[in-house]
Symmetry: C2
């Protein structure tokens, strides 16, 4: 059921088996599996995550390669709702382990916000990341190209960059090394620091040896039309011809709400998990971009499958065996009947 500020009591009156923080590819896959295991769950989705911005989801089996990320999210949300999942637009502010339950505080609404606290046995953290983009005075100029011909994921979009003149935009010297992977797809790479970092002599020599020019003046604007990049103009007046680009400026992790939970193991901003996506906390799972590994839709979807299955095993094994008792059998349940709370 869709929850909103008008019917929060529906969720506040329950103890969910699982709260899924984040309704992207990983969170929705987890919700679908959880519902099909007969477990109750609440998905909290802030909106406009990484997959929302994908113009074309070119490498996910089963969908035409022109499918936008938001179509995957729309279909998945509808699928989850059809299985009885609760779904709330909101921002997860904080998660606290109360012992047997997690208390999850959600900000609902941008004005006159409400701050309900929902409770669950398990928590799935699937809030993902957002790629950093170069900040220009006119951000619309960035959004006109980002996700179209200015990419943030080489694995996703390197294929579209093949042998084109490209810009690689970085914010640290270390990230310039991305050029020496990107050159698998194209060797025509101009490196732009946007004025954000200094570059030492070793890296300058390495770039020169490969023939990759380095530009250290800030970007003034991207040029092109209909989302197709044609070049980049720098603050110092330099014009760089480029029909594609890769932004390698790192990402913001939506994980602040987890920082108060003791004992979690982090590698940088990524959570470390086992092969079932279980963190060092036995009732907390992390999926997709939030955990170590490839940031790919296919991986997040499988992570949702794994986490939901591990939680089902936990809950099932802790539940009493259901015996065949005739008194429970009549009236017979329809094969197409709704999910029942009796499974819990």
């Amino acid at each position: 059921m869709k929850l909103s500020s008008r019917n929060l009591e529906v969720g506040l009156g329950k103890i969910y088996d699982v709260i899924v923080a984040g309704g992207g590819a990983g969170g929705l896959s987890a919700a679908i599996y959880l519902a099909r295991y007969g477990l109750s769950c609440l998905v909290v989705e802030k909106g406009r995550g990484r997959s929302f911005w994908m113009q074309d989801l070119r490498n996910y089996l089963g969908l035409p390669p022109t499918t936008p990320g938001r179509e995957l999210l729309r279909q998945g949300t509808e699928h989850a709702l059809s299985l009885g999942v609760d779904y709330l637009r909101g921002f997860v502010e904080d998660a606290t382990d109360e012992g047997d339950l997690f208390a999850v505080k959600v900000k609902v609404g941008k004005v006159n916000s409400l701050y309900p606290i929902f409770r669950s046995k398990y928590l799935i953290a699937a809030t993902g990341i957002m790629d950093e983009l170069p900040r220009l005075s006119d951000m619309q100029n960035v959004y006109d190209y980002a996700g179209y011909s200015l990419h943030v994921c080489m694995i996703c979009d390197g294929y579209e960059m093949r042998d084109q003149k490209s810009v690689l935009i970085v914010n640290s010297e270390d990230r310039i090394n991305t050029a020496f992977v990107l050159n698998w797809f194209t060797p025509y790479i101009s490196v732009l620091t946007h004025g954000l970092c200094s570059v030492g002599p070793d890296m300058r020599k390495k770039l020169a040896d490969h023939g990759y020019p380095l530009y250290e003046s800030p970007i003034r604007r991207f040029l092109g039309e209909n989302h197709q990049l044609q070049g980049v103009e720098l603050e110092d007046g330099t014009y760089i011809e480029a029909t594609t680009g890769l932004v390698a400026m790192g990402a913001r992790y939506h994980n602040a709400y987890l920082k108060g939970i003791p004992g979690l193991k982090w590698q940088g901003e990524n959570l470390l998990t086992d092969e079932w996506c279980r963190t060092a906390h036995p009732r907390l799972f992390a999926l997709g971009d939030l955990k170590q590994g490839l940031n790919q839709v296919a991986i997040a979807v499988a992570d949702g499958t794994l986490a939901a299955t591990a939680i089902w095993r936990d809950i099932r094994r802790a539940s009493p065996a259901r015996k065949w008792e005739e008194r429970l059998l009549s009236p017979p349940r329809s094969p197409a009947g709704p999910s029942g709370s009796s499974l819990n």
Copy 2:
């Protein structure tokens, strides 16, 4: 390009980066990623694998839950072909490690068969499993219900079995333990051995304690209409009312072609792999149902992503760096141009 007995020379004239044995969910996902990494690959698909028989793919994010498995395969095959993947209908008979290359012998055509041998640097084993079904004199009677109301995967279809009278069909005493997981979804379980195994006193007592009747006579026929099971008739004349069923008789593994490769690590018929789906052989990967883990479409698709990415990293790191050389730049390549062999 689609290959067949008429144009095998197209593939015989190449050394592929990768041969993908099996064009199910895992193999097709791998092929799509490999092609997008600019690597050449040949998919060999025998047809009619496990996902082909799925009537409804109810738990794969992005597709409506009524999507048949063969629609996923059709879309994925079209996707892979559009990226320049070679695709051949055939049966992988044998794989031999020749040192730097694998030689993969394929049977093409059921009559007047040809046995071409293709070569590749890497091999992805994605040939999966086929679930065993009870053998009746009239197999059409089994196929009328299998995949509809007679299921083979509890994770996939337990939801559809909820609180219905069900039969659990096994071929060994050990597999009767499936009842004590299936009872999460329904406790109305009749266990049928189809006359294939004996059952000891401890298991008989456990079943009796749960109220699950045991029937040891062979199945004569399934009864119902329009693929909807209503009951099962045994050879001894017993009639068992049931609107759903689960077959837990194990599976046949399509892995015979790998048995001559030394050093692989097996657990039963499953290949053991690392977190990138790499087997103990550094150039051989195993995906999906063939490796240890959950037999789920979402897992196989992610496995394809992982294996393709690991292979790309291997090949890329072993390749010379591409420098910006102006002489290679003209004429400029179209952003939408085809994949070039120059990447290899």
